[in-house]
Symmetry: C2
Subunit: 408 residues, 2 copies
Amino acid sequence: MLTKSSTELVRQQNSALVLAALRRAGNLSHTEISAETGLASATVSAITAELEKAGALAKAEQHVQGGRGRPRVLFTPRRDHGHLIVVRISSDVVQYSLVDYGGTLLDRFDEARNHDERGTAPFARAFVDALERLLQRSRLERDRVLAVSISSKGLVDGTSARLLWSPVFGREELDFAALLAPQWRVKVMLSNETLLVAQALATQAERKPESGFRALAAISLGHSIGLGVARKSQSGEMDVSAPNFGHMLHTPSAGLCRCGAYGCIEAAAGFYGILRAAFEVPADTIPAKFVPVAELDKIAASARQGHRMAGYAFRQAGIALGNGISRMLSLYERMPVHVTGPGIRYFDLMLPGIEEGLAQSMQVRLQGPPEIAIVADEQRLVFEGHLARALGVIDGDIASVGASAVPG
Amino acid sequence: MLTKSSTELVRQQNSALVLAALRRAGNLSHTEISAETGLASATVSAITAELEKAGALAKAEQHVQGGRGRPRVLFTPRRDHGHLIVVRISSDVVQYSLVDYGGTLLDRFDEARNHDERGTAPFARAFVDALERLLQRSRLERDRVLAVSISSKGLVDGTSARLLWSPVFGREELDFAALLAPQWRVKVMLSNETLLVAQALATQAERKPESGFRALAAISLGHSIGLGVARKSQSGEMDVSAPNFGHMLHTPSAGLCRCGAYGCIEAAAGFYGILRAAFEVPADTIPAKFVPVAELDKIAASARQGHRMAGYAFRQAGIALGNGISRMLSLYERMPVHVTGPGIRYFDLMLPGIEEGLAQSMQVRLQGPPEIAIVADEQRLVFEGHLARALGVIDGDIASVGASAVPG
DNA sequence: ATTATTTTCTCGACAGTCGAGAAAATGAAT
DNA sequence: ATTCATTTTCTCGACTGTCGAGAAAATAAT
């Protein structure tokens, strides 16, 4: 259903547009903002004045220029307008970062996960404590934090900030909004990790409009398999989602998965699935909780030396991925695939299987196989995704309250 | 990327809102429009005056009322504001309908498809001729037609009105926009048939807001397998798509498909797939182009009498569907599934397989199986989908040109 | 006839965008 | 040193749109 519009909404939308342009292109002058957004110069004046009064923007003192004429004066986000806390939860460590409104990192520390502990309660305590510590280390008031952005592997309900299923906690739900509700009056955002990779790659692609970005997928290879999909809807807005790819059904013969089901993609293409196949462990063996990378490196080495079962293990992992990707493309559309995660070091071993798995499907026969690119530095991309997403939401909030909330 | 907004766009959006309310709820008075849309009474006056001047609306002469006070005067779409041609292409017949702007059917005829003919050229000629005939029969000028809305099974590029793959023409593309371009100056819309079923069911669900509609899927069972998905995006607009479900990879062992690939869902769950399995024809046999329904009825009868291979054929069809649905739900979200098409008469035979195929996946174990409903009358739903979609687009056009295009 | 009631229409206030041109700020030319 | 050309930023009035309040219209009840 469509929804009512009004002149105030117009201002809100255009304010958000100005903030987005500033995020995308860095510091911009009045005229550059006008060119970038398509807004008339007079409108830019009105909007920047409002945002300046609200404290979100400031004029940079240094006006760079060489040419003739009145020098341009650059607008820039006011870094002290607020702060953002980014939490990356991975299987062995949790990383806490403090970022300012300008997107620059102020503080960061890691906390090792205690693998002996069972259940979410101890983790929840450690989580709340760590946020508190982050404030203390920077002598920051809690109300200066505009948002907390959290990422984890697994199945996530983004609207309510609930972790529905994760490799670590299984079906035990974790409601981050409820966790912080008593003390923190901030927006809590929870995103799947690979969704953020897709988000980061998509914002990168949007920075160069000549690339004609439409859609992309990011696949993370590791103990578990993640998928993020970023697509531009016909209305022009970016739609990013994290389908449950790792536990999509591959084929029942792929064996028992960590999640308790049989035949998930992960059960064939995740690290433990590869290990199981290489060592010819029965497919209904409950797989190891954690497979050291050194172990997989050994299998990869023997596969590269021609060992049959090791090679087979990577090949069947590739087929599971190829089939899964082909199914994903059938349900969405043709789009480039970016592969990341620790598993990319074995990508050469999986590629023949992937190609085989792709070639079977009608979608690929019809439109050709998708471009596949390897992307290193997954953790940096996740962090960039956090920034793009959380700061974008914060900008939206600023635009929607406008200058009205600021007295005087 | 966000896009610039302006006061004119506000009017455009709100005009569309008024037209949509009128479509949804039938004829409405001034106050009802205001209540339905949330717009102020003064705004409704301005918009209805503009739309009346443009010729899209008129006041109904009869003012129904019982109570006191000034009687309400109902607004209604002006049926003669323009016309819509709806073309339903199915495997054996093409149905041409002429509809007015109010959505009432004015004329309709069917044309049998000639199965001997090869290639798209003869079909294209017959198509253009039939449209011409539709005009002549109602003595209608060509420029009174606002849009031509076409539906077919198969893979469709909705933005460009090109049929990319279809059961009948295979990979031979058919560009309907180009077909009509020389003579016709109308909007040409091409939609997958099952997409329109999903569209119709979704607009029905939206009519009762208490149902809290979020998403639904429509699956059509027949010679081929179709899927339509309708989802409300977070911005509130309806997003309807027709993923390539029938030719999504099920499992390579499902055998050769009409499309030339191996293991498509259709190769197991389409009519010819069931036939092949029941008669134990080798799985790489090129399947029959067309399977009479009587033939399948016989298999169903023997299956119901306990015949082993017949029962197995329907069961493996069900498993293919169940696996496919579970994969679809993994990639989107949990949503009710509506099953339609001629194949629903065998649904009881497939249901055990469907449930088995669903139960294997993690998504279903976690969130429970989706609600499955049987929906008869597929053809009526397709037609309703045509109307909802095409008239919605026409309304959008009217709102966007506004009264500006109409002289004095 | 008058009154109560409900609906529709109209008017002025307010919010927003835009184009044009004034004002500002600087380098180049005289 | 002053003036001129150039570029950027700012400001003003016109235009479009929404909204609330109250006037005007149309009918049933008194």
